[in-house]
Subunit: 428 residues, 2 copies
């Protein structure tokens, strides 16, 4: 049966929740027209309903009891924007079991339990959509699952974390250290008090596990993805990268390697300044997708923030509303092949290696010899002296990670080498 109105319960009245409520109330007429049916906000549930959220909500729809909303048979769509695993997971499962569609922006719960949710939704003839979980306002999941569905995806990579991109942009522009840039990001609300989730790459790993699972039709556990955040990136690295024509960005990278293997990794990359991703600054995100039919495509937009993220949540609600006929098909099919993640040691990349060495003859000769012994071919070298210490920067040609790391270990054992200051992958 096709309903002329769908009732929505929003669980979580934080940043994204407030954005969803704002759009539902302020653009409600537009939404009804575009969705072909009325979308009615029936509940907004949060433990704290006293706090002002910058939007006026009728008192009778505010509740501290999410289960009240989940128990109401009149609710058609549950929007979970609480974040984290508990109690989000439980609420999502309850909603699906009770035959309600779910829309969520929660990357962590989807990365961890998305596969189970999709199966549970199908059992209950409803759908769970999560566009906002992987690229903020950018409709990348929609593109992967529908518009680009005819393609074998060869590569998907890009900038999917607004916080770290804001920090790296600031470090680049102002020659600032991470700590200072982070502090400002926190003051602006771009970074949380405990920034681990962003800075150490967890957020990006969640997103890559979601995007890669859909792109490559296999389930990839987020724990299996190589992860390196931006904590070790210093102003010196960024300045030196710039001298060589590079800029440092934190990337999510997925590359098909034959029919059975995939490279999945999250780490900082020195990308050439002329690459389109080099111009993606501040809190903006951009994702490249390369398909065997469509070729190269790119999606760009705000990856975070109240209204951009809420825009994606609303997009999912409209999608559900357009297709809610009371006889719902599963809208997501992804986990139908078995693919393996290539070990990080087997990838190929260029590398930027920065060393602190004693300023004495023979250092470069010793380092070069180790590189040569490990088949690590050197593309560029730069030495800068300061007092009795010298900074030695090496940029390699494309080499395999395992021998490169072996060479780095041998170099660090040299008596003339005081410190391996950084090892950053380069090129795209």
């Amino acid at each position: 049966m096709v309903k002329s109105e769908l009732n929505i319960a929003v669980l979580g009245f934080g940043t994204v929740g407030a954005g969803v409520v704002k759009i539902l109330l302020q653009n409600g007429e537009l939404l009804a027209k575009r969705a072909g049916k009325k979308l009615t906000l029936k509940y907004v549930a949060d433990l704290n309903i006293k706090k002002s959220r910058g939007v006026k909500v009728p008192k009778d729809i505010l509740t501290t009891d999410a289960l009240k909303a989940l128990s109401d048979p009149a609710v058609d769509i549950v929007v979970e924007v609480i974040g984290g695993v508990n109690p989000a997971k439980k609420f999502i499962e309850t909603a699906l079991r009770r035959g309600k569609h779910v829309v969520t922006s929660n990357k962590e719960v989807i990365a961890k339990y998305g596969r189970e949710f999709i199966a549970l939704a199908a059992q209950n003839k409803v759908n769970i959509l999560f566009e906002a979980s992987a690229g903020g306002g950018i409709p990348i999941i929609n593109a992967l699952t529908k518009a680009l569905a005819g393609n074998n995806i060869r590569r998907i990579y890009g900038i999917v974390n607004g916080t770290t991109n804001y920090i790296l942009t600031k470090m680049y522009r102002e020659n600032a250290e991470l700590a200072a840039a982070l502090k400002e990001a926190q003051a602006l609300g771009y970074a949380e008090a405990d920034p681990t989730n962003d800075i150490d790459g967890y957020d990006v790993v969640y997103k890559l596990s979601i995007l890669a699972s859909l792109a490559f039709n296999s389930h990839f556990a987020y724990q299996d993805i190589y992860r390196e955040g931006i904590r070790e990136i210093s102003a010196v690295d960024i300045a030196l990268a710039r001298e060589f024509g590079y800029i440092i960005k934190l990337l999510a990278i997925g590359i098909a390697r034959g029919a059975k293997n995939v490279e999945l990794r999250v780490h900082p990359v020195m990308i050439p300044q002329r690459h389109p991703l080099a111009t993606v600054n501040d809190a903006f995100n951009a994702v490249f997708v390369e398909g065997d039919c469509v070729g190269e495509t790119m999606f760009y937009g705000r990856g975070a923030g109240e209204l951009p993220t809420a825009s994606a949540v609303i997009g999912d609600i409209v999608d559900l509303a357009l297709h809610d006929t009371g006889d719902t098909n599963p809208a997501l099919h992804f986990n139908f092949t078995r693919k393996k993640i290539v070990p990080i040691g087997s990838i190929n990349s260029e590398y930027f290696v920065r060393l602190k060495v004693k300023d004495e003859p023979g250092v470069l000769a010793a380092v070069s010899k180790i590189c040569a012994n490990n088949q690590v071919s050197i593309k560029a070298v730069q030495q800068k002296d300061a007092d009795s210490v010298a900074h030695l920067v090496i940029i390699t040609h494309l080499v395999q990670e395992a021998p490169l790391q072996k060479a780095v270990r041998q170099i660090s054992a040299l008596k003339q080498v005081l410190e391996v200051s950084s090892v950053i992958r380069a090129g795209l």
Copy 2:
């Protein structure tokens, strides 16, 4: 009733048709998995079924009789990739009337009759989708109608014609004239023997009418959109633009002006070389969409070509298959407001005006006076002498089109002015 298999008839076995058939046959297994049901190619209809199309099709599904496919009750989805109005329009109407979904890549027929088709589809409880009609492989329609549906769209603009972008890129890189670049585009199959449709901006106008109608929720007839192609762009314009830090691109532009008015126009624009659109080259397309919630987004990819266009057609087929429950909702709602197109004389822009003038004193004074009298404020002037003739280039500040055009008419009447060589809008 949810079917486990959908039968597809492809009408038109030209470039796009061959691409669709290739993907259906070569990526068939992947498609069945992603769509959750088998997608079976049941007919390929074309008047010429002898010609080789680079793909092997079982003989029994080839037919010269499109009506045979349209009459078969087993056909669920009709793919119209013939192009042009006749017989495409008739075939689409027949398919919809017989309760078959339609997917088309045909911008002309959608720009001219899309509104009627959507109504006819709704009457017959089927859908018509046309992603490939407006941005080739870029999923821009999907984004507008679903992912960005929560937004009041403020602006949509970009490069949506691969042929002219290829030509302009070639002219820019090789300092070539249009005729030479066009000839090469034709040799490569990027431009047709009669290039009017691309060169004179008709193709872009069709696409803008489709995109703007969806973005701004109103029906805009393509004939009402201001249209200027690239025929008058010369190598001199491109070289001078480059000197001033600009590059010339053919753009489709839609800008909301309050709740009731929209600027819609297609013409060459001198855009700053640092703008992201300046780096969109060759046959690539890119569309910017700015929404009140999501902010700025950008979609980039191949705007034409066999497989990129077919990729979008297949995306629509998968979308239909995912949601085909036998009780179909209309998937497109757009024509629910009445908006007017702002007359071209009322827009504001910067302008690049190139004049051929007699090399004698007083020319610049006379031209400047006319500009001042018409409130046309000048940003930059450059004069280059060659024999007894001089080229005078003026770049204006932001001014209204009507007084600018009046000033140009008065300038062209000056006895020292031999020719108004070009007037090109600038800035973004």
